[in-house]
Symmetry: C2
Subunit: 199 residues, 2 copies
């Protein structure tokens, strides 16, 4: 079990077979030291991929992305879920369907910050159905950039996101991969079944 899987067992809360709450260290409260470790881990896994920029999505992607950016020595761009009042030149948009919220939304970036021939590392907090990651890949490619890879903090491996993105040819690296979860605990991919979570 790696540092993040241990932390998920210590502080994550399984709300259902598909919903894991990690607002103690990632989605609401953020542990900066953990984010630094996550950033270093992404940098290690993508160090040979010629990354020139990181693309993430507000809000929970930002903390892991900035530490990965620091470790790789590249800038970070975050896609917005709502259009900014002062951000409209060369706007690129992509649609994302949220299975949790059962609604479609639009995310956007300003094309002036993604140039042709850049190699973009996509970073996000969760991978489930792959909707957000796909939309980020689409934004990068519509800007004429190449996707160097996709770095995920927590992957729900029992959902279809990884399979779908791998079929599209993307390299995916997830720091924690959840095989299954329920009220009795969390099983990680290639890991052993862990004891029940405590609050």
């Amino acid at each position: 079990m790696n540092f993040l899987e241990k932390r998920i067992l210590q502080e994550g809360i399984v709300l259902s077979d598909t919903v894991l709450k990690v607002d103690a260290f990632l989605n609401h409260q953020i542990d900066p030291l953990l984010m630094k470790e996550i950033g270093a881990e992404f940098a290690e896994r993508f160090k040979e991929d010629g990354v020139t920029k990181i693309l993430t999505i507000e809000s929970s992607g930002i903390a892991p992305a900035v530490f990965a950016g620091l470790a790789l020595g590249v800038p970070v761009l975050f896609a917005r879920k709502k259009k900014s009042l002062t951000l409209h030149e060369g706007l690129l948009t992509s649609k994302v369907f949220s299975f949790t919220k059962q609604e479609e939304s639009e995310i956007s970036i300003s094309s002036k910050f993604l140039r042709r021939n850049e190699r973009v590392l996509i970073i996000d907090d969760f991978l489930a159905h792959g909707e957000a990651a796909s939309a980020l890949c689409e934004l990068a490619e519509n800007a004429g950039a190449a996707v160097a890879g996709i770095g995920i903090v927590i992957e729900k491996s029992f959902q279809q996101g990884r399979e779908k993105l791998e079929q599209e040819g993307y390299k995916i690296e997830s720091i924690a991969r959840i095989q299954s979860m329920n009220e009795n605990g969390i099983q990680f991919v290639c890991g052993e079944k862990e004891a029940a979570l405590h609050e």
Copy 2:
């Protein structure tokens, strides 16, 4: 002129006498190295204030806040502008009026992450009328915590935010303080008038 003021002159875009666009390094694209410097500067300015937690607001506050949190060795909590589906226990809310958007919105945190007797450092990207900072102070105080101070990346010193917050007794530290700005350039507080900005 400090490191941030230099960067604002290099890459900031003055859209009007009151609107400065810094989406090249803070509000859309983020420079992680600059954020690390900003975090270190906040840590230096608040090192004697007994900070136990940082409170910021999504999305542009997160990057400076996590680096300040790393430097001070404390967790970061970010207030949400939209209610999360999985975040409702002990929700504390506060209203923010946006002068830019001319609308009132609600921000919220989960009270379980802010305990009584904590000393909270509020961090935000901009200070103008002080609406967001006031709302964050209110959230912290409603949780029973004390506000140790307010750290701002860029202050529009020609607007009323600082004065209002100082009258309420808060310690405010802003890394860049803009005295005035227009198409000819930006004048910083205690600084000299600088040459025109370039894109």
